[in-house]
């Protein structure tokens, strides 16, 4: 591979020079330089908001840079659209899902492809996609409409979508976010296979493990600036973490103190519920949670996690079984009554369910309370009280926002999550149900959120954390249950020694 790269004078397949891209109020990329050698796996490392995604969106034709130039095979290129970038063989898998919900998996994958004739054969493309999916080791059912899939499954479709094209330069934006450890390893194997065929891969991540495991070179960005590019062989996790955070991190395996459990807070007995796919997705789940306990719910995406969270918070009707909260039956109560009883729900889909993206930060902070008398009379909102309350929360929960009146959608993922937590925790809940609360966040934000949870349990709050990140569950929970196809397939102590048993349970082996 290295020999081939000599074809270009510079030795670089991609050479981005001094790329600057700014948005109103943010300078996302400040004169960033980035180079890529043909056939390598290049990791782009940085915290949230470091400018990684923006830089790659410039390369894939989504953003036009304010200044700077891009050389492809030593020739100056400008991409005005993703289509133009695709013509050069540059394709990107985005962090946000970009799928057409009403079309099937196979249709989404072949969408816009030149290989498709005017009249297409559904069976044929489904077979083709099935072939691709087994080659790559990412399992999907090609004939199913995308809206029926879980987020994790949708992400697999996204990756397959790009791999289906004849891609020479593949960009992956945090691809492992929702994948299981096995799927992650399979993906990495496939990436290596791709590079041996002459494909070049850039993947954006903030996970040091992944960089060390799969990348040849790594470029670290911090706050829109280049920090450094290293050969992975010449560096280590500690150094990279330091470059990424801009400060020295202690990398001791410090576990948090887990509180002792108190009396029973939530009791779930044999609940059954129907999922969006119209088949039963909860098939008799029972467990209990004590005050001051964090219960981790592990499992591969799409095994009933979302339905469980929605059943507890009243968003999904339970067909049979009961949910008792502090001894009272709250099964199928109206969500408002459940909220008032002291249950907070932190949904998986932050932008879609957690906030109203077009409303301001302040409006989002009082979304569950605006009708209470402390924020105004029956008719008129008390602006002063609201502003005061919101400023307090913004300060207290370190929400980074230029002002309380800007739309919530302009905040970064980590700050949106802080906003949601600020709203929920400030309401003094007795039970918090959180689904993938730290997904896609950087180390600093994850730590802050975990600390918030641990502070809550010390005051006797019970927390259910549903997460696909086993490390997270090991770190904060005291007990783990594994969901598999709508059933609890085992209860485990939260101990890394149990990882094999837990992994087996996640795969359906009891």
């Amino acid at each position: 591979m290295r020999g081939e790269s000599q074809l270009y004078e510079s030795g670089f397949l991609i050479d981005m020079r001094s790329i600057t891209k700014s948005f109103p109020s943010v300078l996302a990329n400040d004169k960033i330089c980035f180079t890529c050698i043909k056939g390598e796996i290049h990791a782009l490392l940085g915290e949230n908001g470091a400018g990684k995604s923006v830089l790659m969106k410039v390369l894939s034709g989504i953003y036009k840079p304010d200044s700077g130039k891009i050389l492809y095979e030593d020739k100056l290129v400008t991409f005005n659209s993703p289509r133009q970038a695709l013509e050069y063989g540059i394709g990107m898998v985005h962090q946000e899902l970009r799928l057409v919900e009403t079309l099937t998996v196979a249709e989404n994958i072949v969408l816009g492809s030149k290989m498709l004739g005017f009249i297409y054969n559904k069976k044929k493309i489904e077979l083709e996609v099935e072939q691709l999916s087994s080659d790559v080791g990412l399992q999907v059912d090609p004939g199913v409409a995308v809206w029926r899939l879980s987020v994790g499954e949708k992400q697999r479709v996204e990756i397959l979508k790009v791999l289906y094209r004849e891609i020479k330069f593949l960009i992956l934006d945090e691809p492992t976010m929702l994948l299981t450890p096995q799927e992650t390893n399979q993906l990495f194997d496939h990436l290596k296979k791709l590079t041996s065929r002459g494909c070049t891969v850039v993947f954006i991540t903030h996970k040091l493990e992944e960089v060390m495991k799969v990348a040849d070179r790594v470029t670290v960005l911090r706050q829109g600036n280049n920090v450094s590019t290293r050969n992975v062989g010449d560096t280590n996790k500690r150094e990279l973490a330091g470059l990424m955070m801009g400060r020295k991190m202690s990398f001791s395996e410090s576990k948090f103190d887990k509180c002792q459990a108190g009396k029973v807070l939530l009791e779930i007995s044999d609940i059954h519920a129907t999922g969006d796919q119209k088949r039963s997705s909860l098939k008799g789940i029972s467990f209990s949670l004590a005050c001051g306990e964090i219960l981790g719910v592990a499992g591969v995406a799409g095994n009933g996690q979302r339905e469980l969270a929605e059943s507890i918070s009243g968003l999904r009707l339970v067909n049979s079984g009961n949910i008792y909260f502090q001894g009272k039956d709250i099964t199928n109560l109206h969500p408002r009554r459940i909220i008032d009883a002291g249950i907070s729900y932190i949904p998986e889909d932050r932008i879609g369910m957690g906030v109203v993206p077009d409303l301001s930060v302040a409006d989002n902070l009082i979304l569950k309370d605006y009708f209470y008398s402390r924020f105004g009379s029956r008719l008129i909102l008390n602006k002063a009280a609201i502003d005061c309350h919101c400023d307090e929360l913004i300060k207290g929960f370190l929400i980074k926002t230029p002002h309380r009146n800007i739309p919530a959608k302009l905040l970064s993922g980590g700050n949106i999550q802080r906003l949601i937590l600020a709203r929920e925790i400030s309401r003094n809940p007795k039970l918090i149900v959180a689904v993938n609360p730290t997904r896609g966040l950087d180390i600093g934000a994850i730590e802050a959120i975990h600390k918030m949870f641990l502070k809550q349990i010390s005051t006797g709050v019970g927390i259910i954390v549903i997460s696909e990140d086993l490390d997270e569950l090991f770190d904060i929970s005291s007990r783990l249950i594994v969901l598999y196809e709508g059933k609890v397939l085992g209860t485990f102590d939260s101990d890394r020694k149990m990882i094999e048993d837990i992994g087996l349970a996640m795969g359906g082996v009891n």
Partner: protein, 307 residues
């Protein structure tokens, strides 16, 4: 009696079918065009005027399609390129279309048209007792409407054009990423939608009434917009819906002919009551399951690439 009623249901339902199909195509691309009534009026006028001048029905049809298509391109320019509010632009189109046609058509009021569409009896099929007389003794435009609906259905579900169109209407960002030209697809969908509305209008002025008068479309464009929802954006259901409404329309006329003493105003109101009832029923149905998702997710949302 029933035979005659069903026959006139098809006759009265055909213009609705054209307009509904046109609007389905437009909305599938994510653009709402409330200018249906206006485009139908322009089509009716252009078709009638050209036929009177040239004496050629097909020239009339072509000019009906093209004039309504051109009018719809104004909507495309406003909503796709300039990203203006689709509702305001569509309403403007309706008011403009009706006004322009009335103004230009003053001298055509009461003018007879020399030629009209002949009934085509389809060999063998038209001889089937009862059914033959209802289904297979119509003019060219009726058959063409049904063929077009089936064609649109096949394009939606069996062709690349169909998935591109659905993708653009459902998630334009995803379509853009896949290399589909969102703007081109929307322009084309709006244009073809306009052409079909124009043909629906021409059917009224050339085959149904056939003469020219102000307000000749009399609200059928609005019914078509409601029918799009009724049919859940599916061309097959559009056929059912259009003829069902044709039936209500025919019933109203029949009552009058039979001298049943009901106020004509009440009868003319019937289709609209029916529209409201159908709308309520179709939303009810959509509460359960899949139906809700047949609404193009990006309907009325202008698209612009981020950055």
């Amino acid at each position: 009696m029933l035979e005659l009623l069903l026959y006139s249901a098809i006759v009265a339902g055909t213009p609705l079918l054209y307009a509904t199909l046109g609007e389905i195509i437009t909305e599938r691309s994510g653009v709402l065009n409330l200018g249906v009534e206006g485009m139908m009026t322009v089509g009716a006028f252009a078709g009638f005027a050209i036929t009177v001048i040239t004496g050629n029905l097909f020239l009339g049809l072509i000019s009906a399609g093209i004039s309504a298509g051109l009018l719809s391109l104004v909507h495309a320019l406003m909503c796709v390129t300039l990203r203006a509010n689709q509702i305001v632009s569509g309403l403007g189109l309706t008011i403009f279309g009706i006004g322009l046609s009335s103004y230009l058509g003053k001298s055509l009021v009461g003018v007879p048209v020399q030629v009209t569409f002949e009934k085509i009896e389809i060999p063998y099929l038209s001889e089937i007792p009862w059914i033959g007389a209802i289904l297979f003794q119509h003019n060219f435009l009726v058959y063409f409407a049904i063929i077009t609906s089936i064609g649109v259905y096949l394009i939606f579900n069996k062709t690349k054009t169909g998935i591109s169109l659905k993708a653009v209407g459902d998630n334009p960002a995803a379509a853009d990423m896949a290399g589909i030209n969102v703007f081109f697809v929307r322009y084309m969908a709006i244009f073809f939608g306009g052409i079909l509305c124009g043909l629906g209008g021409a059917y009224i002025s050339l085959a149904y009434t056939p003469f020219w008068t102000d307000m000749i479309i009399s609200g059928r464009g609005w019914i078509a917009i409601a029918l799009v929802i009724f049919s859940a954006w599916d061309p097959r259901l559009a056929i059912v819906g259009a003829f069902l409404f044709g039936c209500v329309d025919a019933l109203a006329t029949r009552f009058q002919v039979m001298g049943i003493n009901i106020s004509p105003y009440f009868l003319r109101m019937l289709p609209y009551i029916f529209t409201i009832v159908i709308m309520i029923l179709s939303t009810k149905k959509s509460m359960i399951g899949k139906k809700a998702l047949s609404v193009p997710a990006a309907l009325t949302l202008p698209y612009h690439r981020e950055g």
